[in-house]
């Protein structure tokens, strides 16, 4: 059904997106919670900063990643010499780019859900002996699952489709950083390769339809459709 090259591309895209989303979820949720529940100086600035990857053209984001995490970048240098982690030209760098592009979408969806959790329920939990954290874990967190799932799906879809920041930051190396969109782009540059491009585009679509289906099943399983909403 798929050629070996296609398999490599699919596997790489999945790895990049799943790692990106898995690592970003907790951070995104923490940011969403902060924005939904706390007020602090600089809140609007933080909010704006989270939205940046959405506004700034992806190529510029990639270029900033290059400046920061490249060999000569402050963080890149530190990561390389201190931790032995290289991001440039690596799939890990692609995951970082995907994560950053997905972050604003994830935060917004989660924030909406957290804002909708009734504080009176948290009061009830506290009066029953729950610490702040226990109440968060047993009330806020499960009640915001719709937002978490929505955020994860949006973020995953965005990661699977990420192109500009990735190619600028980690280049288009077959087997290492050539994810589905990069492979599609490569195809588009060659006259008459519409067939190959179409196959790859359909694969992208199938992956995210899969993610959607998965999230709907999770929703049902959590018994939410009927009860939370």
């Amino acid at each position: 059904m798929f050629s070996a090259t296609e398999w490599t591309i699919i596997a790489l895209s999945l790895r990049v997106s799943l790692v990106a989303i898995a690592l970003t979820l907790p951070l995104a949720y923490a940011l969403a919670w902060l924005l939904a529940r706390r007020s602090f100086p600089g809140k609007l600035l933080l909010d704006a900063a989270i939205h940046l990857p959405l506004v700034v053209p992806p190529v510029v984001t990639g270029w900033l990643l290059l400046l920061t995490f490249g060999r000569n970048g402050v963080l890149g240098n530190w990561l390389e010499t201190q931790l032995g982690i290289t991001l440039m030209f690596r799939w890990t760098g692609a995951a970082l780019a995907a994560a950053i592009m997905a972050l604003p979408l994830m935060v917004r969806a989660m924030r909406l859900s957290i804002e909708n959790v009734d504080r009176r329920l948290i009061h009830a939990a506290r009066s029953l002996g729950a610490s702040r954290f226990h109440a968060f874990r047993t009330i806020t967190l499960p009640l915001s699952i719709p937002g978490i799932l929505a955020g994860a799906v949006l973020g995953f879809a965005r990661s699977i489709g990420e192109f500009g920041a990735t190619i600028t930051f980690v280049s288009n190396i077959p087997g290492e950083t050539r994810t589905l969109p990069l492979a599609i782009y490569t195809g588009l540059q060659v006259p008459g390769s519409e067939m190959a491009v179409t196959r790859l585009a359909l694969i992208s679509v199938a992956l995210s339809v899969g993610a959607l289906l998965f999230s709907e099943v999770m929703m049902r399983k959590a018994g939410r459709d009927a009860h939370v909403l």
Partner: protein, 242 residues
């Protein structure tokens, strides 16, 4: 199509790598008393696809013959207007101040210059014209087998240039014109022999649907000695019919 208006020049679709030179040429044409042409830059592939779908434009300048060839059979070009505008060559560059001696016939001098981690930046050798010329040269010189997994394939040739400029890669393959545009940050350390790759030509043509009275005149200006001089100033070689 775009209504030809007396105060607006023809719409030119041009490959991104021609940016500085084309703007310069448009400026000079304007200085000689013509309405200023509107130049839109994008990848040749993108421009060709737009033309195939009926984009209303007056001139098309592609970075390679393939994409010009792809629009010609569709009857999109005005008969007899296609010509080679300029030529170019590809060069090996390094960040300014890092003057490794590279022997183009010896892959070990490349690997030495790259170190154990460094990569060779070039436009995607599979797709982007600049990369395809580069790959052809490397193959021709017998270097490709040793270098093929040391490549950093970029979106376009200018992105490859950027990787060298910022020092992220120690070496890169770009057009001579790109190297010229960034001469304060990169050095040319070798020129690939013209025989090592297919000739690099930028074809130009007036589009069949163009109704702009200046379109043909501007084409002729670009091909005239005065026009050609502008391109040569930017590092291109004069166009020659094949």
């Amino acid at each position: 199509s775009r209504a030809p208006s007396p105060d607006e020049g023809p719409l030119v679709l041009a490959a991104s790598s021609m940016q500085e030179a084309m703007l310069d040429a448009a400026e000079q044409w304007h200085d000689s008393g013509h309405p200023k042409p509107v130049v839109a830059f994008a990848a040749s592939s993108s421009l060709a696809r737009q033309l195939l779908h009926g984009a209303p434009a007056d001139l098309f300048i592609s970075a390679n013959q393939d994409w010009m060839d792809s629009v010609e059979p569709a009857g999109l070009l005005r008969a007899g207007s296609r010509a080679n505008l300029v030529g170019n060559e590809i060069v090996l560059i390094a960040p300014k101040g890092q003057n490794q001696a590279i022997n183009l016939s010896d892959s070990s001098s490349f690997t030495a210059a790259l170190g154990d981690r460094g990569r060779l930046a070039m436009a995607d050798p599979q797709a982007v014209p600049a990369g395809r010329y580069g790959k052809a040269s490397l193959e021709n010189l017998g270097l490709w087998p040793d270098l093929s997994d040391r490549i950093a394939p970029a979106d376009n040739v200018r992105a490859a240039l950027g990787l060298v400029e910022s020092g992220e890669t120690p070496l890169g393959i770009v057009y001579a014109t790109d190297a010229a545009a960034a001469s304060d940050r990169v050095t040319i350390i070798a020129r690939f022999p013209e025989t090592s790759h297919p000739p690099i030509r930028y074809p130009l043509a007036v589009l069949a649907g163009s109704a702009h009275s200046d379109a043909m005149d501007f084409r002729d200006f670009l091909l005239s000695p005065q026009g050609q001089a502008i391109f040569v100033k930017h590092g291109f070689s004069a166009g020659r019919a094949e």
